[in-house]
């Protein structure tokens, strides 16, 4: 077991290195020298040179002990991403965004999961009937409507017309009031794809012999569905959930943008708007690292839970 974990940890190194290489190529080699952009339009040559020196754009790219790639590497390993273009520390910005993002995506994810799994169980139970067909049609139709339209229409109708929710994030009110509508919209917009996915899983499960046995024993429908079938369908559900966990922290950038929730998605949109490569670079690295760690944890959990997995 220890050897397995160590091997997996060693396997992480080339992946993390690869992520660093990709971000470096994107933002430093392709993105290029942005000192002119930082200095502004009317800056003279001397200011630009100073900025170029401060950010290290005058160093060689690779192949030197004092190259830009080594700097990039050092910044990532020490988690010291320096300052954004508005001179605030990037780590501070990210730390501030995690909370609001989780407040939005956490309940959204749980709600979505509960609704989708329960509905999928019921639909799998009535498979082949007109209810099943109409549910699939609605799912496909829901998947075809663009996410943006869901958000804009929801915000217009529920917040502006009916005035049930605040239109935009209110810093002085409790958070729950502002994230209510985005959560509902997020659940509805994502339901089509999720429901379809879980329906497939449930259909695979509900055709098994043990379901027939359970019904033959005289158990009630809800007991069979929510106790027996759900338990057996847990493995694919858990896999799906664990892989989605790290992206929860990332927030939902479109929802955050529309409702002005100051989370990480909002930070990302802002960074794109101002072409702040430093923030995008830091976020890319941190989230890739999170995903690597979560994948490792999942594998270890599987190995612990399922004795059939060998540690080779």
């Amino acid at each position: 077991m220890t050897a397995f974990i160590i091997r997996r940890l060693i396997y992480m190194i080339p992946i993390v290195f690869g992520v660093l290489l990709v971000t470096f190529v994107l933002f430093t080699v392709v993105g290029g020298d942005i000192s002119q952009q930082i200095a502004g339009k009317n800056a003279d040559q001397q200011t630009i040179d100073e900025i170029r020196h401060e950010y290290g754009f005058d160093k060689p790219l690779f192949l030197s002990w004092d190259s830009q790639f080594i700097d990039h590497f050092k910044r990532a390993v020490t988690f010291d991403f320096g300052r954004a273009m508005d001179r605030e520390r990037i780590s501070e910005k990210i730390r501030r965004g995690v909370g609001p993002s989780l407040m939005l995506t956490g309940p959204m994810f749980c709600g979505e999961l509960i609704v989708a799994v329960s509905l999928a169980l019921i639909i799998a139970f009535v498979r082949g009937t007109v209810w099943d067909v109409s549910a699939v049609v609605i799912c496909v139709a829901g998947m075809s409507i663009p996410y943006l339209s869901f958000i804009i229409f929801g915000q217009y109708f529920f917040a502006y017309k009916l005035d049930w929710f605040p239109i935009i994030y209110l810093p002085e009110e409790p958070m729950i009031k502002s994230v209510g509508l985005p959560i509902v919209i997020g659940i509805i917009a994502g339901l089509g794809a999720e429901l379809r996915f879980y329906r497939t899983i449930m259909l695979d499960e509900i055709r098994n012999d043990y379901v027939r046995t359970a019904f033959a024993k005289g158990l009630s429908t809800s007991r069979v569905l929510f106790k027996h079938v759900l338990k057996n369908a847990m493995i694919p559900i858990i896999t799906n959930v664990v892989l989605a966990l790290p992206t929860l922290i990332l927030g939902s950038f479109l929802l955050e943008r529309f409702f002005g929730i100051p989370g990480l998605g909002y930070l990302m949109i802002e960074a794109i708007g101002s072409r702040d490569f430093f923030i995008i670079n830091a976020m890319t690295f941190i989230f890739s690292l999170l995903i690597v760690v979560f994948t490792l944890l999942t594998d270890i959990c599987y190995a612990l839970v399922d004795p059939r997995i060998s540690f080779k």
Partner: protein, 329 residues
């Protein structure tokens, strides 16, 4: 091959493809969807051809429906209504009628939506081609050669797959935008499809690699090798045709997500800047809805909805027909 030897009274043998397409043709709904997709493609091609200067010169024809930036009515004219309108240059008033209304500048929403078809289909098509062009050869090489080739390619796509997709896509779109490569500045639609295409090949590559690994020990490959075929020939004329249906299914399934990605990127201002696109139209609707201007968003949403629905249904049918083992319902 077998047609020449088939006797009159023997049943006609059907190949894999003709059988699959026979099954597909029987599904009426899927065929309707396919026709919708073809209509969209034809509209995109029409707009793309008619707006070029060479077309205008050769045919001496200026088709009004592609002149999206012409002022056709007053600002925010309601759809399906008659209106009086005085164009800037002329003194007299003109009577007009618009199907989908006009936007803030008095441009026709219908024309903008039509132009959006071209933008969106072009982006999705080019992104698919780039994605397949990278994913399929890399996956095939990795699966066929294994060893260090495999390890390098797997390392590369695991790395890209580790970065959350939406971050990767936006990072590519931001970094590529406005850069010059070989003297060509990347902006507008090419920036979008390059970003989508360069980031979306990972899943396909993984899939093709797995299939090639599964099939490379098959008897037909061994037979080809025994006859002295080169690796290249085995890979590209024996193995790849056998996984072609997977590529086709993947192509149609992901076309929808590329259309939606284009909408989101345009909305974020990372897409076409001076030409209409559905994302930009939806973005405009953000402020317009409060003034009860709903038609611009409705037109863009309806256009996206129709093509996505048609593609979704058609790809499901295509998957069922081409790969019965993958059937889910």
């Amino acid at each position: 091959m077998s047609e020449t030897t088939t006797q009159q009274n023997e049943p006609v043998s059907r190949g894999y493809w003709s059988d699959a397409f026979r099954r597909l043709r029987r599904r009426k709904l899927a065929m309707v969807c396919f026709i919708i997709v073809l209509i969209y493609a034809a509209m995109a091609a029409f707009v793309g051809i008619v707006e070029t200067e060479t077309f205008k010169k050769i045919f001496k024809l200026d088709v009004p429906i592609v002149r999206w930036n012409e002022q056709v009515g007053p600002s925010y004219q309601k759809p399906m209504a008659q209106y009086d309108f005085k164009p800037e240059q002329s003194e007299t008033k003109v009577k007009g009628w618009s199907l989908f209304g006009t936007d803030f500048l008095g441009e026709s929403t219908l024309r903008k939506t039509l132009y959006g078809v071209k933008t969106s289909m072009l982006v999705a098509f080019c992104a698919s081609i780039i994605s397949i062009g990278i994913g399929v050869p890399l996956g095939a090489l990795a699966g066929y050669y294994r060893g260090w080739v495999d390890e390098t390619i797997v390392w590369f796509y695991t790395t890209l797959g580790t970065i959350p997709y939406i971050l990767l896509l936006m990072a590519f779109a931001v970094a590529l935008r406005g850069r010059e490569f070989f003297g060509v500045e990347i902006r507008g639609a090419p920036a979008v499809y390059l970003a989508i295409g360069l980031t979306s090949w990972v899943g396909l590559c993984r899939l093709i690699r797995g299939e090639i690994i599964k099939r490379k020990e098959s008897e037909y490959v061994l037979a080809a090798r025994a006859m002295g075929c080169s690796d290249f020939r085995i890979l590209f004329s024996h193995l790849l045709p056998n996984v072609f249906h997977i590529i086709l299914i993947n192509f149609s399934l992901r076309f929808v997500s590329f259309i939606h990605a284009e909408v989101i990127l345009s909305f974020l201002g990372l897409g076409e800047n001076d030409k209409p696109s559905w994302g930009a139209m939806i973005d405009a609707a953000r402020t317009e809805l409060a003034r009860d201007v709903w038609w611009e968003m409705a037109a863009a949403t309806a256009a996206i909805f129709l093509i996505s629905l048609a593609l979704n249904i058609f790809s499901d049918a295509l998957r069922d027909c081409l790969d019965p083992k993958l059937r889910i319902d």
